[in-house]
Amino acid sequence: MKSMTLSGFVKKYTMVIALILVLILFVITTQGKILYAQNINNLISQNAYVFVLATGMLLCILTGGNIDLACGSVVCFTGAIGAVIMNRGGNMFVAVLVMLLIGALVGAWQGFWVAFIKVPPFITTLAGMYAFRGLSNVVLEGYAIGISDTLFLNVFGGGADCYIGDLFGGTDFNVLCVIVGVLIAAAIILVTFISRARAKKNGYTVAPFAGVLIKTIVICAVVVWLFYKLAQYKGIPTVLIWISIVLLAYSYITKNTRMGRYLYAVGSNEKATTLSGIDSRMPYFFAYTNMGFLSGLAGILTVARATQAQPTFGQGYEMDAIAACFIGGASAYGGEGNVFGVIIGAVLMGVINQGMSIMGIEANYQKVVKGLVLLISIIFDVLSNRKKS
């Protein structure tokens, strides 16, 4: 295998490099405030919904650049239902199950029209965007409804105690948090090199050792540093666990399962996929049902963080999710993109938000900057693809 050229490296990690540059920029302009432990903690908690929704959106986009405009409204709708259940004294577990189930049902409803009746997804989900926004208002009767179930809040990242406590009794510094970080880093190293060794044994083409080593070291350093920072604040936010589960699960689904393969195949060449004996409606149905399910999860995280549900929640969430996917390298034509890209895209958006907030830039200008970043990242993508062909 040829060693990677510099331009090849830049092309492959364009957005990672962009993220680092943006981060450096903000470190300078905020005199390092952006790297304060609390700010990093906020970055994760505030953007939890972006990670979750963007992962779901990725699957939709893979099927052929299709998007789900309704997910912001569905977040609000499921959140509203959950808040009402708990507000009326309902059990938290019941509330969570109902929220996820309703999310999945809404997704299946949209998926049905998209996959089996072939209603264009843009229009199906536009309809959903209006309908579920309206229904949220109906459920909440136009008011905000508070949530006081502390277990719910603690588990899903709301209120003051939504962190994993320190088993080792650290007060200012969460020792458990650092240990977890180190263990994760160790696991990454182990998995990477075991799978590489196995691949080599089976005669696959493997990436050069030096490259893998550097990549692994960088990833582990970031992980350990992140947990070290979190330890300085209050420890691991519970919401990080949910985000991690979603990212890991969907990384696996897209990479290693047949359904994952179908999503990419349908997005790349639907005709060839159908003629290969694959029911091409199933990937669409799966992607949209799943989007609804994850909207339900995002709804849970959103109302937990706010400790209440409001009829205006979730507005514009769909756009954040779409933007994170495209910034993360998903193709607007489908068939290309991955969960790692989504992470980078979501973090980049989060860093820009956070950085500008710390700098005290007005919210309106923040939107201008976000818009420009999205446009630039797509221009980059288009240009580098053009050179390739």
């Binding site: 083409t205 290693n256 005709k271 996929t273 290969s276 004996g277």
Partner: protein, 512 residues
């Protein structure tokens, strides 16, 4: 010797990692038809793209001398202004626009801000007449056949005042009749003094129209022939193209026993999915036995693809009627999946469009139709998948450094091998091959034929659809002739000749 109108000197063009052209020289005399032949990927199209300015001046080295002056084209418009017009293999027409609109697309008649439609259609009609097309220039492109579309392309080129016309595989999607008409039109233009360069795989066409031949192999010119001086036959050209003599274009089959009927179709009728009532396949009966290659010959539009797709899990058509028997048992196949489960495989025509996922690797394409065998509980086993891809790569001798290579980067012949691998991996008993060798070169064709022979040797049945007569006759045990949705003749291949197959088609046409 006439005046040299075009000379390309020492043209070298490199793409990252590949030298596509290496010191290629080409001389074209005024008023001649010059044939450019070579295997797929030899660099013919690249050379013509250099000439027409698709690759701008500076991205290649060497000189283009046209009409005595050195040309430095930076865009296609530059070459067109000089009268060099290229007609690409893939037709560049907008289906929902009229013939007239298409002909002057980007070259509109009238003033800067106003299109003069009267003038457009008047001019269009004039050029249509020159190419012998009688349709109105108001007809939409989608309503005329491929043959006529090709003529529109030529009329479009004439409208650009072409003096040197380049035709890249002009007949690749035409039937024999339309091809013949096109070639005759070229000869007619020659009489009027037009200079033409034709790129083609069909050597009989070269022999028919060319005055001179330039052969390109692996990016360099390996020889030229002058049809007035040299004796030209297909064998000579093939030898030049592949660098060795192919004594037998169709490999013989040995030790193959033809067994029982494996697939039988009775009274099969299919209607057009959009135009209800229009029969695309009309009461067709046929069968294929194990160990047998059955050829279905028909012109483009005869309904061959429609027939096979309707058999393959009703992938095409509406109101499908008839009975289908697999190994003597009647089956109703409602989806491609059911068809695959019954041991059927349909190796699609146009591998780039319905066959392969070009942006994915050979590995992913190989297992796409049979992911079951490389996964447990819906989770793909990466080891098994890789091993399967490598096995078929080696079995079919696909030329690629690794199975992780994207299919889009392969040559036509190798793509076809990947497509075959995909279906062989699905382990079918009956394979329907739709135009398995279209657009691939002589050497790769031979390899595909060998693969077909291996398949029947294993006791599988092969239905081969083709619009190349020599191939159908050379490869099949038995031949069905299809025309306008019906099977009009059946004959064993030893009785089949080009003449009696064409006669069957013409006869059936008269009967209507």
């Amino acid at each position: 010797m006439g005046k040299i109108i075009l000379e390309m000197k020492n043209i070298t063009k490199e793409f990252p990692g590949v030298k596509a052209l290496d010191n290629v020289n080409l001389q074209v005399e005024e008023g001649e038809i010059h044939a450019l032949v070579g295997e797929n990927g030899a660099g013919k199209s690249t050379l013509m793209n250099v000439l027409s300015g698709v690759y701008p001046y500076g991205t290649y080295s060497g000189d283009i001398i046209y009409n005595g002056e050195v040309c430095k084209f930076t865009k296609i418009k530059d070459s067109e202004e000089k009268g060099i017009v290229i007609i690409h293999q893939e037709l560049a027409l907008v289906p929902l626009m009229s013939i007239g609109e298409n002909m002057f697309l980007g070259n509109e008649k009238g003033s800067k801000n106003h299109v003069d439609w009267n003038k457009t259609y008047q001019e269009a009609d004039k050029y249509l007449k020159m190419v012998g097309l009688t349709d109105s220039s108001h007809t939409l492109i989608k309503d005329i056949g491929t043959g006529k579309q090709q003529l529109v392309e030529i009329a479009k080129a004439l409208a650009k005042q072409a003096r040197l016309l380049i035709l890249d595989e002009p007949t690749s999607s035409l039937n024999e009749e339309d091809s013949k008409a096109l070639l005759d039109l070229m000869l007619e233009f020659k009489k009027q003094g037009m200079t033409m360069i034709i790129i083609t795989h069909k050597l009989n066409e070269v022999v028919y129209v060319a005055d001179k031949i330039t052969i390109i192999r692996d990016g360099s010119t390996v020889g030229g022939m002058d049809c007035k001086k040299d004796v030209i036959d297909e064998a000579h050209i093939i030898k030049g193209m592949v660098g060795r003599e192919i004594t037998d274009r169709f490999p013989k089959r040995h030790d193959v026993t033809v067994g029982d009927i494996s697939l039988e179709v009775k009274d099969w009728s299919v209607e057009h999915p959009i135009y209800a009532g229009r029969k695309v396949v009309d009461h067709v009966n046929f069968n294929v036995k194990s160990g047998e290659v059955v050829g279905i010959y028909g012109l483009m539009g005869a309904g061959r693809t429609e027939l096979s797709m309707s058999i393959f899990g009703q992938s095409y058509g509406a109101n499908i009627k008839g009975k289908l028997f697999i190994k003597g048992r009647e089956k109703v196949l409602k989806s491609p999946r059911e068809a695959i489960n019954e041991g059927l495989a349909y190796v699609t025509e146009s591998r780039k469009v319905n066959g392969l996922i070009l942006s994915n690797s050979i590995k992913i394409n190989t297992t796409l139709a049979n992911m079951k065998d490389v996964s447990t509980n819906n989770v793909i086993d990466a080891d098994k998948e890789y091993a399967a891809a490598v096995e078929y790569k080696e079995k079919l001798r696909t030329k690629t450094p690794t199975v992780e290579q994207n299919v889009g980067n392969l040559s036509g012949g190798n793509m076809q091998k990947v497509l075959l691998a995909k279906w062989m991996f699905a382990n079918p008993d009956i394979l329907i091959l739709d135009e398995p060798t279209r657009g691939i070169d002589v050497g790769a064709k031979y390899e595909i034929y060998c693969i077909i022979n291996d398949l029947v040797k294993e006791g599988k049945s092969v239905v081969m659809i083709s619009s190349e007569l020599p191939e159908v006759i050379g490869m099949s045990d038995r031949i069905y002739v299809m025309n306008e949705g019906r099977f009009v003749a059946e004959m064993p291949s030893d009785q089949a000749t080009q003449e009696n197959i064409m006669a069957a088609i013409i006869q059936s046409g008269k009967g209507r």
